[in-house]
């Protein structure tokens, strides 16, 4: 073989930061071809996707609106992924967080108290964490694969939401539409900047970024997560419990997804609908990887993925491009990232035929 792949003694730090950028460039190049195939001018499409949506103050604020759930969830997932705990059921945890979080308003909607919103957020976190506790229990007690169990529970959660919206939680004055009553002012996420939809959840996302950064770099539990993830045997010798980390990773991921769900229904959506997320729980997986499982990286990756949602909508309105382009784009970027990651752990060597004896 002319090209040889050699394992690096140590992973390349430069490549850790460069590969997401490579992946983005490759995705852009491929999408030029894709746009061409779809019969639109690639330049115009890229402009509509990446520039036009954030060309205004309102557009920028929308970037944070869409980025908020992605960042919240990805922060939670990244801790699990670092520990090799593959929670891919965040979409379900988001749904259960939204359900339990809003239950207090649905059942006591006349309440007008400053404690209502904090209670909703706490219950949202609890709802997500409880839903994630199921795969955690099944994994630690019965060794059941958390990938499959957490994913199966996504479908169960979404069906449960549907039961509620079509039944007991339907707005009594809502002409039988499958919608709950809209959140009252004291149940709503407060708006941060008047005239936009940017809400308190965005602040929570920023707090999560900082909090996770401190947790992962300064606390024992963060250290344990990293050790168990990269060298489980060493972690065992150090007396770190793998089961404890599995529980922690899933509960933390579930809680963050639950908060994201609640902040969606008490924020931009303002009520419970049969569908409360365009797959944020799955896109957040891409965000976590693209952000290199690092809180600050996740912040940027979350905003980038939020841009693909906005860009998809803009391109649909202006150019008539199908909304599904967003999904292709998101999948593609993760694909390219994983492909480029070979550069982190390996290096390419050209074999010259003359002296290649090894």
């Amino acid at each position: 073989m002319l090209l040889k792949i050699e394992k690096r003694a140590e992973q390349s730090r430069a490549m850790v930061y460069l590969t997401p950028i490579f992946a983005l460039i490759l995705t852009m190049l491929t999408s030029v071809v894709l746009f061409h195939l779809l019969g639109v001018s690639p330049l115009e499409a890229l402009y509509n996707f990446f520039i036009l949506p954030i060309n205004s103050e309102y557009g920028l604020s929308e970037l944070f609106v869409k980025g908020t759930p992605l960042i919240l969830i990805a922060i939670g997932l990244s801790v699990g992924f670092k520990a090799n705990v593959w929670n891919i059921g965040a979409e379900g945890q988001l749904t259960m967080g939204a359900i339990l979080g809003s239950s207090i308003f649905i059942y006591f909607h006349e309440i007008d108290s400053v404690f209502l919103l904090p209670a909703e957020i706490l219950l949202g976190a609890l709802g997500g964490a409880l839903w994630a506790a199921i795969p955690a229990y099944l994994k630690t007690r019965f060794n059941a694969n958390e990938i499959l169990t957490s994913l199966m529970l996504v479908y169960v959660a979404i069906l449960f939401l549907s039961v509620l919206v079509h039944g007991p939680w339907r707005d009594p004055d809502g002409f039988n539409f499958p919608e709950s009553r809209t959140f009252s002012e004291s149940a709503d996420m407060p708006i941060l900047i008047a005239g936009t939809r940017m809400h308190f959840g965005t602040l929570l996302a920023f707090m999560a970024v900082i909090g996770a950064w401190i947790m992962m770099s300064k606390t024992l539990i963060g250290f344990q997560v990293k050790v168990i993830g990269s060298a489980p045997t060493a972690g065992g010798y150090a007396g770190f419990s793998q089961k404890k980390i599995i529980w922690f990773a899933l509960l933390f991921g579930g809680a963050m997804a639950g908060i994201a769900g609640l902040s969606e229904v008490a924020g931009p959506i303002d009520q419970i609908l049969p569908s409360i997320s365009p797959g944020y729980g799955f896109t957040a997986i891409i965000v976590a990887f693209l952000g290199r499982l690092h809180p600050v990286g996740i912040l940027f990756a979350g905003l980038l993925m939020a841009l693909t949602y906005l860009g998809g909508e803009t391109a649909q309105i202006n150019l008539g491009l199908p909304l599904a382009v967003t999904g292709v784009f998101q999948g593609m970027i993760l694909f390219y990232l994983l492909a480029c990651d070979v550069l982190v752990h390996y290096r390419f060597r050209l074999n010259s035929f003359g002296k290649a004896a090894s």
Binding site: F142, M152, V154, Y155, L159, H166, G327, L334, Y346
Partner: protein
Amino acid sequence: MSGFDWIVPVILTVITAATPLVFAALGELITEKSGVLNLGVEGMMLVGAVTGFVTATVTGNYFLAVALAAVAGGFMAFLFGILTLSLMANQVATGLALTLFGVGLSALMGQEFVGEPVEALAKLNIPGISDIPIIGPIVFGQDGLVYLSFVMVAAVSWFLYKTKAGLILRAVGDSHDAAHSIGYSVIGIRYMAVIFGGAMSGIGGAYLSLAYTPMWAENMTAGRGWIALALIVFATWKPGLVLVGAYMFGGITILQLHAQAAGLDLPSQVLSMLPYLATVLVLVLISKDQSRIRKHAPACIGRIFHPAA
């Protein structure tokens, strides 16, 4: 006799619900036996489903539709192979990426075909024989893919346990270093196993969009790719048990439809949860016994192979 009239239609629907699972799980079984875990089954099924549907709608040729669905699924798996086998990417992450990409790609490919009806795959009809009560429609009245699924179960079994190629495949999955040192191309064999898995998932997907519900809808697999993955654990990597498991799940899926029709006083959504809850339950029951899993699971599953130079 009239009291049992419902049995035949129930069995017929169980068969159509189980067949896509048989294809997808058998394909992934071969992939896993070679030591590769491809979590992209859902994505490959979706791309197969949309490819089959679009081909059938445009050309009307169902043979071509199924063939192209297999090619499309195989191509998706080939992409997975490039990443995990040649570029040594993490198999779990890449499989997830394949599913996310497949969801998006299939939605894009099928967006102009949503809600369009297509004629269901033709069923065998031998005058006289297919009309025999009970046995006629069940045994002699299926579409070609149902028969093919049974043939594939036997073929995969035979291949794995009765042929030299199957032995080599299992060797690669159980100890890639040993297989490499006796001179087998671990990467080449795994590419073939991965692509076979993708092609079978593609056919399974096409069965959904051409026979189970002859139409295309975004995300129409509804988690079947993941259920197929769980089935393999349930079957402890044995083709015969995959068939049993797939029919069990087909039965559960259909049970909910008939329970609804029978007027069971539960929200329909609660019954729709059954297949997913059953999958969790089955995983728990099987995984409890770790020694059994360890005995049957390919030892190298999910591990990256990089030949030391």
